[in-house]
Amino acid sequence: MAGLPRDEAGTAASYASLARPLLLPTWLIIGVFLLLPVLLMVVYSFLTKEFRGGVEWTFTLAAYEQFFVTRGLFGDEPPSIEWTYIIIFWRSIWQAALATLLCLVIGFPTAWFIATRPPQSRGIWLFLITIPYWVNLLIRTVSLRFILRDNGPLNDALIVTGLIDAPLPILNSDVAVQIGLFYSYLPFMVLPIYAAVERFEFALSEAAADLYANRWQVMLHVVLPAVRPGILAGTILVFIPALGAFLAPDLLGGAKAFMIGSLIDEQFRGSQGNWPFGAAISVILMTLVLIALFIQARAASRGAS
């Protein structure tokens, strides 16, 4: 009995001392795979560009200056705001937001449908949703190119059914990027909403209908507040990767539909790359994402209280 703690404080303390060594793997993983890469990226963004990719260990703000400031084509004009990258950012945010909205509009009814099936068949529906994701994203995005191109199955089908006369130039447009983003991230919207709807107490919607709420009012006043956490989670899970996506814009959007992901990707490719600039763009992107997450967390906690 001598080794046992006498009181609760003693118990808590002895568990705490035990917890430290047990938590070591967690700290290692967070440190090596999260903190270290981010730190590296932040440091690189303040270094000088080496001629053939890579960095020189000299501190400079050149990368951030390149992002925000222009001195004209030949560098001899007075400094003014560089809009190129800000516009790319704005386009990316806009595209990602639109894709998120699209995923929500399609994903919510899908999740609702699955969650309201008999319990035995829900598993099958979820399985069907996830099947395409067993194939590599690159391959699926390339396949989309074939589906969307001028003489691809989509246009062929539309022409055969007489809906259009000439092929729609979908490929290499913002629409194609939207389709690609939507397709890539839809399950990340469906799954959290499904989980929330499945937990929803349907007796509550009966109670609301009993109290004179029509279908829309039941949805608005009772269902949505209850599944809100699922919607918020889905929104984040789609918006953030969509913001940094580069496969869909690269392969489906062509030159016009340039997004942040492609811009960063370009900075680390071959000898034309600019590592500090790529790192700086990443840092700016991460800052934006953190701000978005912070706003979301505030909204969520306000909803909960």
Binding site: A208, L211, Y212, N214
Partner: protein
């Protein structure tokens, strides 16, 4: 006497199971009407059909003369107190209570005032701003009641609203519910499987079993003049003995007890022959000159009264309840006693 709800030959089937096998009922306006029956007899099904959550397989449901079977739930002027309360977890107590008025388009000041009055009625004004999760079971039950009463429904449906409460609270709520019904004048259709609850509160009771209404009447009716074996056994405690009926007329029967003695009593049976006679345990006195003779097997002490478990001469068990008064002479087990039926104690059953 207006009829608030009229159910005409309502049938409900779920695949192969028949939950309601043809129920017809008239529920008078401003009454406290109870559906009483064992688990699975179809009470909830009937209530949900009136509220509109289940479609009837056959039959009609009239609300003040209007057939409502095709009306959506939100268009029916009835409100429900659900068995598990189903309070909206993200809304405060007052918002829960005001919800029905809000959906009806009552503007905010008016509906808050009304909801406040409803909370006063159920003694919960102090907790108006709490969330349902911060309330005890009994308090949640009152919120559910206030929420259903606030829009002033024409009929209030209550599905075993007291079953989750402890005995003391349940007994207190019985009185309160009855008072509330009298004060508001709203027709209450109350569902329970607890006969004490039904007897204590109801103006009229429909006893249900296996998807059918067995008997409708006042508490006194169904207790004292049950129509069949099911009602006699389900309501309270009773002794059933087989008797030979020699003559029936005008609801009275002449019969022969197993002891050979003759008896005349009220009858639900309309034919002579062998029938079951129901005798309530408390309507029998222990005297040497009884119509029945029995041997005492056990004496069970119940506090306010004593229960004598006896066996009749023919071998049937027979329970007698006697008051635990100071002057009561308690027979010992093994004693042979005579049992005298009080006036009107026996009732001949139809089946």
């Amino acid at each position: 006497m207006d009829v608030a709800v009229s159910i005409r030959n309502a049938v409900k089937r779920y695949g192969a199971t028949t939950a309601l096998a043809g129920v017809s009922l008239d529920i008078t306006n401003n009454a406290f009407f109870t559906l009483l029956g064992p688990s699975g007899c179809g009470k909830t099904t009937l209530l949900r059909m009136i509220a509109g959550f289940e479609a009837a397989s056959e039959g009609e449901i009239l609300l003040f003369g209007q057939n409502i079977v095709d009306l959506e739930p939100h268009l029916r002027p009835v409100n429900t107190v659900f068995q598990n309360y189903a309070l909206f977890p993200h809304m405060s107590v007052i918002d829960n209570v005001a919800f029905g008025l809000r959906m009806k388009g009552v503007e905010i000041a008016a509906r808050r005032a009304k909801a406040g009055r409803m909370l006063e009625l159920v003694h919960l004004s102090a907790l108006a701003d709490r969330l349902p999760s911060q309330l005890s079971g009994g308090q949640q039950q009152r919120v559910a009641l206030a929420r259903a009463l606030a829009p002033e429904p024409k009929v209030l449906l209550l599905d075993e609203p007291l079953s989750a409460l402890d005995l003391k609270l349940r007994q207190a709520m019985r009185v309160e519910l009855k008072q509330l019904q009298e004060e508001t004048g709203i027709t209450f259709l109350f569902v329970t499987h607890d006969q004490d609850e039904a007897l204590a509160m109801s103006d009229r009771i429909a006893v249900m079993s296996q998807g059918l209404v067995q008997q409708v009447g006042t508490a006194r009716d169904i207790y004292e003049v049950p129509v069949n074996r099911f009602v006699a056994e389900f309501i309270g405690e009773t002794n059933l003995i087989d008797v030979e009926v020699t003559r029936v007329s005008d609801g009275m029967a002449d019969l022969v007890l197993p002891s050979g003695q003759r008896l005349r009593c009220s009858s639900a049976a309309t034919a002579t022959g062998r029938h079951a006679l129901s005798i309530r345990p408390e309507r029998v006195t222990v005297t040497p000159d009884g119509q029945l003779t029995a041997t005492v097997e056990r004496v069970v002490y119940m506090g306010s009264d004593l229960r004598l478990l006896t066996r009749l001469e023919g071998g049937r068990e027979f329970t007698v309840r006697i008051q635990n008064a100071a002057r009561t002479a308690v027979p010992e087990p093994g004693a042979r006693i005579g049992l005298k039926l009080e006036e009107g104690a026996a009732r001949l059953l139809a089946d």
